[in-house]
């Protein structure tokens, strides 16, 4: 018999927990839901746009009643739970009884009503549910009506904006001297007030409500200073309080909410609580991102997967008022121990302030242009040291303008036909439609449904911004901890540390140790684990070809028509008549459909079938050519110019240096592709400053540059250091590559890796500490002993033949 699960509270947090649970263990529980409101589950956060007339009720339904039916869930809507018998484990709601084995409390919160005289008059409402919105819309439908909104916080301003859009004459009353004082500092609040005044709202600040006036219905509001404002509708939006009355009544420990532990269990371990009714580590939350994190942890525990823990959330705020962009997070006021970076441009209505302590972000507040809010928030949450880019911090993250968007990164202003994802041809309109119609909340959801940002990823920032803009700022933030893949809750770093510290030497051992959810992993984690094991245990770990992407398994690049391309290595971009003749002969013999000069100074042969590959490699091998690894997360090419040997400007022999670098590093597997270049002088014809490792020769020696990228996101290198000799170039190169190999996440290029760990860190490991550098260099050379083995030669002689031949030919 199935266990019985009862959910009390049919809101966003509780139903989210059920959704997560159904994903993990669809058959485990017989589920019953009690909800006080007479609806399915709707998106409470979107009530503001409904009030403003920008969305309809249907558009904000998350789970209609059919969803409950489809998932075999019994829904008691419009039923209030009177009592829970914890000894007998039965929930009582009027004439309905529901026994339970496990129970989730998700009773949410109640609006706080100031107990002034007249607060119970007709026409005085709060802003919490669909009924309140209906009441406001009704009031607004009568012409010439005046509304007073008490509360100049997030909720109050959204209500005021909605009522104004419905044609009401709205006055916002606020106790403090500045709006949204918990989310904004004074300058930002002033900009906000100016924008809202331009939209027709009126404000009374530092106004304490003394009484609400009226006989049967509300007629006005009187303040402490005696001033009176006429009103036909009063909206109380001064805050919310966790609704824990039921929990308290049945004897669960409550303070400002139902107290729960890190697995979302109350003091009765059969009873969980999630959402706004909860107090966790002394905190209560009213934003949706933390609630969803709680829901996920709760579902994990209910499904008996006990590995997830909720460790609290850092939250940020966005206001859902069309045309107003504001963002804040953390401590944005600061104190004597902090420093503030401020950018003010009144002409453009811009204000940004980032508060730093020891070069780490404590908080940020932004008005007018909030596109970098997500970035600041991530830096703050991860405690990133920003000293390496402090000088440009306020100007934002350059990523967002990529892929041809230039400065046009104000997603709100973009036309629906604007292309967001250039790889998959996805426009803004399609993304917005998918988000609203399919109720998408996360970047992963949007990727799965629209494919936007699922290929090269350069438009991730734009998609996140679009998500934030469409559904409100709370949704899109990725969880604090990013698991390696859906098979695990552990991160790349945790798994690498486990492999190293616990002597895990096979993929099965890793999956076993970390309690993988899928026995043989997925197409995301298998290549990553294979790489991590190969990197950690060179010579010991047996490479698993079935866990490699096809290009690395077949040692050639698959093309859109399922043919392959072949690119032999040309050391340092040099070649000989014999090599060219061999390539020409092969091109003719196998009727190669295209011969193309690559960007990395080599020749590529296109249009070959998989069966032809071993024969072609045999012919190329005869001429002394070897694999160019153009298909691998590996050392690709070392591009060079002709240097001092020929060029009148050359300062060093960059060609010979490039060849030496390539001879040293070829065959090395890396987290992502790795490209190098050596230029003979600062004119830099080999474009060394957009490579993963670039050398620019100067008269006095060699400048070493790292972390460049000419692809998805153009990034010029950072200068690592200057060295005097060619041998030093080789040693530093080996050390740098090894540090990258050991510490970057799989599929992370050097550019984002350096941005993540900071150039100072890389310098500390390679430049400042010679013992560390030498150890890295040594480990690199050790690994190379096992890696420098031409895969083409072996396969030309018959290795892995099954990979290249059909199992059967019919007819």
């Amino acid at each position: 018999m199935k266990e019985k699960l009862v959910l009390i509270g049919n809101g966003m947090a509780g139903v989210r927990a059920l959704e997560e649970l159904l994903k993990l263990a669809p058959e485990q529980y017989e589920i019953t839901v009690f909800g006080g409101e007479p609806y399915g589950n709707y998106n409470r956060i979107m009530l503001s746009p409904v009030l403003a007339g920008e969305k309809t009720l249907d558009q904000i339904m998350l789970n209609d009643e059919q969803w409950y039916v489809d998932n075999g869930i019994t829904l008691h809507k419009g039923k209030w739970v009177d009592n829970i018998d914890r000894a007998r484990r039965v929930v009582h709601a009027g004439d309905v009884c529901a026994p339970y084995d496990r129970l989730i409390l998700a009773t949410g919160s109640n609006p706080f009503v100031i107990p002034v005289p007249g607060h119970d008059l007709k026409g005085v409402i709060s802003f919490r549910d669909i009924a309140d919105v209906d009441a406001m819309l009704q009031a607004a439908s009568r012409p010439g009506r005046r509304a007073v909104v008490i509360g100049g916080g997030l909720l109050g301003l959204e209500a005021a904006n909605g009522l104004a859009k419905q044609g009401m004459d709205v006055t916002v009353v606020h106790l403090m001297d500045s709006l949204m004082e918990r989310q904004l500092d004074k300058p930002a609040a002033e900009l906000l007030r100016a924008s809202l005044e331009a939209k027709g709202l009126k404000f009374l600040l530092e106004a304490q409500t003394e009484a609400i006036l009226g006989e049967a219905r509300v007629e006005g509001v009187r303040f402490k200073d005696g001033q009176e404002v006429p009103a036909d509708l009063v909206v109380m939006a001064v805050g919310i309080r966790a609704n824990y009355q039921l929990a308290e009544r049945i004897g669960l420990h409550c303070e400002r909410g139902v107290v729960v532990n890190d697995t979302m269990q109350t003091f009765d371990p059969r009873i969980y609580a999630v959402g706004e009714c909860v107090q966790h580590r002394g905190q209560t939350y009213g934003l949706v991102a933390p609630l969803f994190e709680q829901a996920k942890v709760c579902a994990n525990h209910l499904a008996h997967i006990g590995i997830a823990r909720y460790e609290g959330s850092i939250t940020s705020t966005k206001l859902k008022v069309t045309g107003i962009d504001l963002f804040s997070a953390g401590d944005f006021i600061g104190d004597e121990q902090t420093e503030s970076l401020v950018l003010q441009d009144p002409g453009r209505g811009l204000y940004k302030k980032v508060v730093l302590k020891d070069n780490r972000i404590q908080g940020a507040v932004m008005y007018g242009d909030t596109i970098d809010g997500t970035w600041y928030f991530e830096l703050m949450r991860d405690g990133t040291d920003v000293s390496d880019f402090r000088d440009s911090l306020l100007f934002g993250q350059a990523h967002l303008g990529d892929s041809g968007h230039g400065d046009d990164n104000r997603v709100a202003a973009m036309a629906d036909s604007a292309e967001i994802c250039g790889c998959n041809g996805v426009c803004k309109g399609e993304i917005v439609t998918a988000i609203t119609q399919k109720n998408l909340f996360t970047l992963e959801d949007v990727r799965a449904h629209t494919k936007a940002s699922s290929s090269c990823g350069s438009c991730t920032g734009l998609v996140e911004a679009l998500l934030a803009h469409t559904v409100g700022g709370d949704y899109s933030q990725s969880p604090a901890k990013k698991p390696l893949c859906p098979c695990t809750e552990f991160t790349h770093d945790e798994i690498r540390a486990g492999i190293r510290d616990h002597d895990l030497k096979s993929m099965a051992a890793v999956r076993d140790f970390f309690e993988w959810k899928a026995p043989d992993g997925c197409s995301k984690c298998r290549p990553a684990l294979n790489y991590y094991l190969l990197c950690q245990w060179p010579g010991e770990y047996q490479d698993d070809s079935q866990s490699r992407f096809i290009n690395e398994r077949a040692h050639a690049n698959i093309q859109k028509d399922a043919t392959y391309s072949v690119i032999p290595r040309m050391w340092g971009g040099g070649t000989t008549p014999q090599e060219l003749r061999a390539i020409a002969d092969v091109a003719e013999k196998y009727s190669v459909r295209m011969v193309h000069v690559t960007g990395g100074q080599r020749l590529a042969l296109y249009g070959l079938t998989k069966e032809q590959l071993p024969q072609i490699w045999g012919d190329l091998t005869q001429a002394g050519l070897v694999s160019g690894h153009a298909y691998g997360k590996a050392l690709r090419t070392v591009k060079t110019c002709v240097g001092r040997e020929w060029c009148r400007f050359g300062t060093q022999d960059s060609t010979a240096l490039g060849i030496e670098l390539e001879k040293m590093t070829w065959g090395s597997w890396t987290p992502h592709k790795f490209k190098m270049a050596a230029s003979g002088c600062p004119r830099n014809c080999a474009e060394a400053t957009i490579k993963d490792f670039g050398v620019v020769c100067v008269d006095s020696g060699y400048e070493l540059h790292v972390g460049g990228n000419g692809g998805v996101k153009v990034r010029a290198t950072d200068l690592l250091c200057h060295v005097d000799t060619a041998q030093q170039v080789l040693d530093y190169c080996a050390a740098f590559m090894q540090l990258y190999r050991e510490e970057a996440h799989y599929l992370e290029r050097t550019a984002p890796w350096i941005e993540r760990v900071g150039l100072s860190y890389v310098k500390a490991k390679i430049v400042d500490d010679s013992a560390s550098r030498e150890a890295l260099t040594q480990r690199f050379h050790h690994a190379q002993q096992f890696a420098q083995d031409d895969p083409w030669a072996a396969r030309a002689k018959g290795a892995e033949a099954h990979e290249f031949t059909p199992i059967k030919q019919v007819g």
């Binding site: 399919k438 799965a448 449904h449 699922s454 290929s455 899928a518 026995p519 043989d520 992993g521 997925c522 197409s523 298998r526 290549p527 070809s545 079935q546 866990s547 992407f549 096809i550 077949a554 698959i558 859109k560 399922a562 099954h802 059909p806 199992i807 059967k808 030919q809 019919v810 007819g811």
Partner: protein
């Protein structure tokens, strides 16, 4: 290859294609037929599946993808396809035609007539 290699299906429609160990675990091999390639997969549990070697998305060769559980990831754009049904994993939509396949005493037999339900393109 087996002696006296069977080139056409027997009366019941089964064609012997090889032994299960001819396919690497978590891998696939191709059966080349006049009607197009058929991918024959073997997973970690030694279950064998056969699908038309064309991803419903852009025709990518599914036989070249990474096999995990009862799924394969297409090598071109990483669509996931259910090996047992040929259907794309939601939210993607589409299907690859499924061919009857069985293993008897370690020998794999394949039918060249696709199951109904998904058009064989």
């Amino acid at each position: 290859m087996n002696q006296a290699e069977q080139r056409v299906p027997d009366a019941a429609g089964w064609l012997e294609v090889g032994r299960i160990e001819d396919i690497p675990a978590l891998g696939a091999r191709v059966v080349r037929t006049p009607g197009g390639d058929i991918a024959v997969f073997r997973n970690a549990e030694d279950e064998v599946f056969a699908l038309r070697d064309r991803c419903p998305h852009k025709g990518g060769p599914l036989s070249q993808g990474i096999v995990h559980g009862r799924r394969v990831a297409c090598p071109l754009h990483d669509w996931k396809i259910h090996l047992d049904s040929g259907l794309a994993v939601a939210p993607d939509e589409g299907c690859a035609a499924r061919f009857p396949v069985k293993v008897d005493a370690g020998v794999i037999y394949l039918s060249l007539t696709p199951d109904e339900g998904c058009p064989d393109r």
